[in-house]
């Protein structure tokens, strides 16, 4: 039953125009970055590496598909949660706003199954978006710019990853990004249970993410104590995949925290939604 309900939810998502906004936005941003790099990538690389060129001598093709993919992932990290919340934040409140929740909840299906099917459908949408991102950012970049070693510049170090050592890192990074974005989906769906308008949960989700990100990036001693507890700190765990050696404990810790948040958000949603009086 849950599987067929999820399939019905996926079909509903697929016929809504807003579901395609994310795909169009991602496609445009990625193509724009790839075009900019194609035209003026050498100058960009020269600018970024100018400080370390006095210490290092770079040989080979720095501007390659792997680097372009890494730049794209870094750039899209803020936008993608918004694009996900645009759909998942509307999953419950959209039904209330349209009035269809009355018909939906008078069918012989438990509220738990209805909510879980919406969560799984939202997660499937997230997965599709990441697959599309992976195809455009990784495979198109590799075809257009060719493979090569990936140079990751950090504030205090330079990580050079060999071309043969990069693909699994990207695929694992996308899997971790899926976990992080599923959390965004669970958060926005939880907020969606509390309201009866479509825009509220989307805006609140983004406000929470922006607020937590600001707190997480500011170097203030007071904030240092709360940073490990903010889910946004762990949403960027995918970046750890591009370190050498891998900080395995840190990655495992972040995965557990992200997973714990998803379970918590989903549990709150289920508790509230099962008891909610439908007055819309």
């Amino acid at each position: 039953m849950l599987l067929s309900l999820t399939w019905l939810e996926i079909k509903k998502i697929s016929v809504r125009p807003r579901s395609y906004i994310g795909f169009v936005a991602i496609t445009l941003v990625i193509l724009l970055i790839q075009l900019a790099m194609w035209i003026d990538g050498t100058s960009y690389i020269g600018f970024v590496t100018q400080n370390i060129e006095q210490t290092f001598l770079f040989e080979g093709k720095i501007l390659n598909g792997n680097l372009i993919c890494f730049i794209i992932l870094q750039t899209l990290i803020i936008q993608i949660p918004l694009l996900i919340a645009l759909v998942t934040g509307d999953l419950v409140s959209g039904e209330a706003a349209n009035g269809t929740i009355r018909l939906l909840l008078t069918r012989p299906v438990s509220r738990t199954n209805i909510l879980l099917s919406k969560f799984f459908a939202g997660s499937f949408y997230t997965l599709l978006m990441l697959v599309w991102l992976g195809i455009l950012a990784l495979f198109v970049s590799l075809v257009a710019f060719g493979p090569g070693d990936l140079i990751v510049l950090k504030t205090d170090e330079v990580v050079i990853l060999q071309s043969s050592d990069v693909m699994w890192r990207f695929l694992t990074a996308l899997s971790l990004a899926f976990l992080a974005l599923t959390l965004v989906g669970a958060l926005s769906m939880m907020l969606s249970c509390f309201t009866e308008n479509s825009i509220g949960p989307i805006i609140i989700t983004m406000a929470i993410i922006i607020l937590f990100t600001i707190v997480g990036t500011m170097e203030v001693p007071l904030f240092d104590k709360v940073k490990p507890f903010l889910f946004t700190t762990h949403m960027i765990v995918w970046r750890n995949l591009f370190e050498d050696p891998l900080p395995v404990d840190q990655i495992r810790n972040s995965i557990l925290i992200l997973f714990g948040h998803i379970v918590a958000f989903l549990s709150i949603s289920l508790l509230y939604f099962n008891k909610k009086d439908i007055l819309s």
Binding site: S4, V15, T106, P108, S110, K275
Partner: protein, 311 residues
């Protein structure tokens, strides 16, 4: 599509026992009791804000009661929610659908949620029944209010339910639409053997099609019973309009008609008596040379309902 005799016709198909719903200190529904029997078109009548929709939402498990019990098909709603909802078709307030889907796709979606194995021909059959033949593939966003109401009724029928709950199904319809829906409800009851629970704030609508009815006001039951019995009461509320009310009052107070006088206004005197008394009083007043300018009669229940709705 005709219902089988799954349930005992003598026992209630729907029973509300001491049902209450409170929001803080406000009681939207106050210890309501009612029984709907198999094959009834049950009229659920009350003015706007009387608690009709709240009651219906509790019957369909959209909101939880503060007190009381709901039994449908002899089973407790709370414990057998899915079984019960599988055998109910309903419209709660205005029927809303997925606007970006066609009528056919909407019906297919709600049928699959009901666990019904419904094919295209069944969907087309139901759409034809409600007068939407030829519009099956149009997206609902292009539908008028009347068409949505019809689609709402189609949605209630698509999984062949035993009990159909309609919450003010004629709201916003044109006169022909109202007649069509009325005929459809009668068809559902008489030809297909369905039980219909029909909520309305229009007494005449209930009178025309319901077999039994309840009137509620401020969440409480006012009266319940057979429509024929309730509305064919002998006693009428009759208003006589006079050119000279003082003269008329003097004459009436000196006669036996004073016993039937209920109240008077600036130009009207209201009596409670039977239909045959109207002509007798009129003749008496003519003999006394009292000018009557109007006579208006209503059944007592109708009069009561008009008062509470006008308030």
């Amino acid at each position: 599509m005709k219902s089988g005799n799954l349930f005992d016709k003598q026992s209630p198909i729907l029973s509300l026992q001491n049902l209450s719903k409170s929001y803080g200190s406000f009681k939207a529904v106050d210890h309501l009791n009612l029984d709907v029997f198999y094959g009834d078109v049950f009229g659920f009548l009350g003015p706007n804000g009387a608690g009709k929709s709240t009651t219906i939402r509790m019957m369909l498990s959209l909101i939880s009661p503060s007190e009381g019990n709901i039994k449908v098909f002899g089973k407790e709603l709370q414990q057998h929610r899915n079984f019960i909802l599988g055998k109910i078709g309903c419209i709660v307030e205005k029927p809303d659908f997925y606007k970006y889907l066609s009528a056919e796709k909407n019906l297919a979606y709600f049928a699959s949620l009901s666990g019904a194995n419904v094919n295209k021909s069944k969907i087309y059959e139901v759409l034809e029944l409600v007068g939407l033949k030829g519009r099956e593939n149009d997206k609902v966003k292009g539908y008028s209010h009347g068409m949505k109401q019809r689609l709402g009724i189609a949605q209630t029928l698509i999984h062949n339910p035993e009990l159909i709950v309609l919450d003010e199904p004629t709201t916003g319809l044109d006169p022909q639409g109202i007649i069509d829906i009325r005929n459809l409800i009668l068809h559902l009851q008489k030809d297909l053997g369905k039980t219909v629970f029909l909520s309305s704030h229009i007494l005449s609508e209930i009178e025309m099609i319901a077999t039994r009815m309840v009137i509620i006001n401020k969440g409480k039951e006012v009266v319940q019973g057979e429509v024929k019995t309730l509305l064919n009461s002998e006693e009428l509320v009759v208003s006589f309009g006079f050119i000279n009310i003082n003269k008329a009052l003097t004459v009436i107070r000196e006669s036996k008609w004073n016993n039937f006088l209920h109240e008077h206004t600036e130009d009207q005197i209201v009596f409670h008596f039977s239909e045959t008394d109207i002509s007798e009083l009129n003749a008496y007043l003519c003999n006394q040379n009292i000018g009557v300018k109007s006579i208006e009669s209503r059944r007592k229940l109708e009069d009561y309902f008009l008062r509470i709705t006008s308030n």
